[in-house]
């Protein structure tokens, strides 16, 4: 892919979040976990969201991934307002537009590495041998060609997270959402995974939002956002904080 192509595609907005708010509970017990968040992410971008424990990072990611209904605000993915969609239409969105990667991998223990990837391809309606071939190809591309038929319990953390990345990428989603993908990995394998996500964003023209506490990966981000009490804050302490991008985005 030429530099020209990357630049034009980079202009496309994949994720647009406006006024996103989530209130848990009601009355006296009401608690605002996510508070009027605005966020725009374009193709080729890797955005890292950091913040203290309990600041609402996971809740925000859950809302963006349409796994949780917001109290107010909108989420557009590829121009589609997913917050306005009926529950029955959401599986389709999750299948094709969003790829998830989790801290605890969430692989299906009964399935092999390649089957864990293949099973989400099956969900999209394939089911034939092509799904298996594609799953094998994806894992091989991620350096897991020698572990295709291993069960998750026989894989290392880093290997499991690679399978999880392959699964997240399987249906070619425009948006990749990762919650603490490095938290269970050591200082070698943690950055490796984020580097992988960065390469995916850059080379395949995807948008990636990564939630992390992990200072080791800050330098890999195009932008770092600091979440506190459900809102984005300026944080001068951050190692990398491209100032002009933040003002346009937040």
């Amino acid at each position: 892919m030429g530099a020209q192509a990357v630049e034009t595609r980079a202009a496309e907005i994949v994720l647009e979040v406006r006024g996103l708010t989530k209130v848990f509970g009601s009355g006296d017990a009401a608690f605002t976990a996510v508070d009027g968040i605005d966020l725009t992410v374009r193709r080729g971008e890797l955005v890292i969201i950091m913040g203290p424990s309990g600041s609402g990072k996971t809740t925000l990611l859950t809302l963006i991934g349409s796994l949780l209904k917001p109290t107010s605000g909108t989420v557009h993915i590829n121009g589609l307002d997913v917050t306005a969609m009926k529950e029955s239409a959401l599986p389709e969105v999750r299948r094709h537009s969003v790829g998830f990667i989790f801290q605890s991998y969430n692989l299906l223990e009964s399935l092999t590495a390649v089957e864990n990837v293949e099973v989400v391809l099956n969900l999209a309606g394939g089911g034939g041998r092509t799904d298996a071939v594609k799953a094998e190809q994806l894992l091989t591309d991620l350096g897991m060609g020698h572990r295709l038929h291993f069960k998750p319990r026989d894989l290392s953390g880093g290997e499991k997270q690679r399978v999880s990345v392959a699964r997240g990428l399987a249906n070619d989603p425009e948006l990749i959402l990762a919650d603490e993908p490095t938290a269970n990995l050591d200082s070698k394998h943690g950055p490796e995974i984020v580097l992988l996500l960065r390469a995916v964003a850059k080379e395949l023209g995807r948008a990636a939002v990564v939630v992390s506490h992990d200072a080791r990966i800050q330098e890999l981000a195009d932008r770092i956002l600091w979440l506190e009490d459900g809102r984005f804050k300026d944080n001068p302490g951050l190692a990398v904080a491209p100032a002009e991008e933040k003002t346009t985005e937040v």
Binding site: T62, L67, F102, E109, E115, V119, L123
Partner: protein, 366 residues
Amino acid sequence: MVPLARRYLFSDKIRLAIAAGGVAFAVLLIVLILALYQSFIDQIGQLASAAPSDLWVMQTGTPDPAHGASILPNSVLSDLQEVPGVAAAQPLLSRAMQVGNARFGFVMAVPEGPFQTLTIEAFGAASPPEKGTVILSEVLAKDAGVGPGDDVDIGASSFEVAEVSSSLIGSFSVSALLDSQDAAQLFGDPEAFSFALVVVSPDADPEQVAAAIEDQVPGTDALTGQEFADVLRQEIEEGFLPIIAVIIGLAFVVGLAVIALTIYTSTVERTRDYGVLKAVGASPWQLFAVVVRQSVVVALAGYVLGAGLGVVVGRLLQDAVPSFTLLFRWQDFLFVLAAVLVMSAVATLVPVRRVASIDPAIVFRA
């Protein structure tokens, strides 16, 4: 296609074996009970068709030979001949008595006469029993532990077994055929018989002739062969059907409970998996299909195992217990298959609801 349902099912082989075994047990029970019942019903049908008479005439109020002895004076035979439409009337002697040590059998005899409608062939015997001998049905012979040439006690007398017939007719396959003079002596009244088998003339209507008989020969009931068989069948149905229904119902509940528990626990164990699948875009129906498939596989495995065992165990029981006669019909196997599929469907109701209620956001909880 990743065979998710199969992977889940086979990931715990012991649980799968217990579940399939439980269903198999239920199927085995249902198959045997139905075969036992069908065999009774079938023998009654044989009785009605083996005696080629149009009408059965008996003492009023004693249509059921198992519960009341019909005793008619010999004069009834000549009275019957007077009734218009009666072509022939053949007497039959029959009484429920102990044969050998304990077992009750239908002791019968067919006096020879000019209008022989019930031939010895109908009893499945080679020749009529001579005086002092008896032809035993296989079940009675096995039960009494006697064979050809042995002596067997019937009432106060002893008879030599002339023949053992596998198709000797009579209710429940327990019958003994005597010489008619022996029988009359044994029953205590040489001037009486039990049933008259009546053949009506070709131009007469059996129903009308039956009405005429009851009208003109006092103290008799006249039933068509079908009605007579129905009386006997009803007897069995009244006695057995409620018991059969209860046993089949219980077996069904056992099978259902085993499948439901298996699928439910398997589903609860996989709560996270189902949540992950939801998060990555599985529709509720795709997940229900995974649950239902597991249930159907357990049910079908149990069915095949249970039906196969049913046939084998049935054969063994039949050999060990002579009176345990079975009739396997393909309709019954289809019925059990349908019951098993209903079981598997009902068993998924709770697990499916459980899957539907799983919140995909759990995937973000560590």
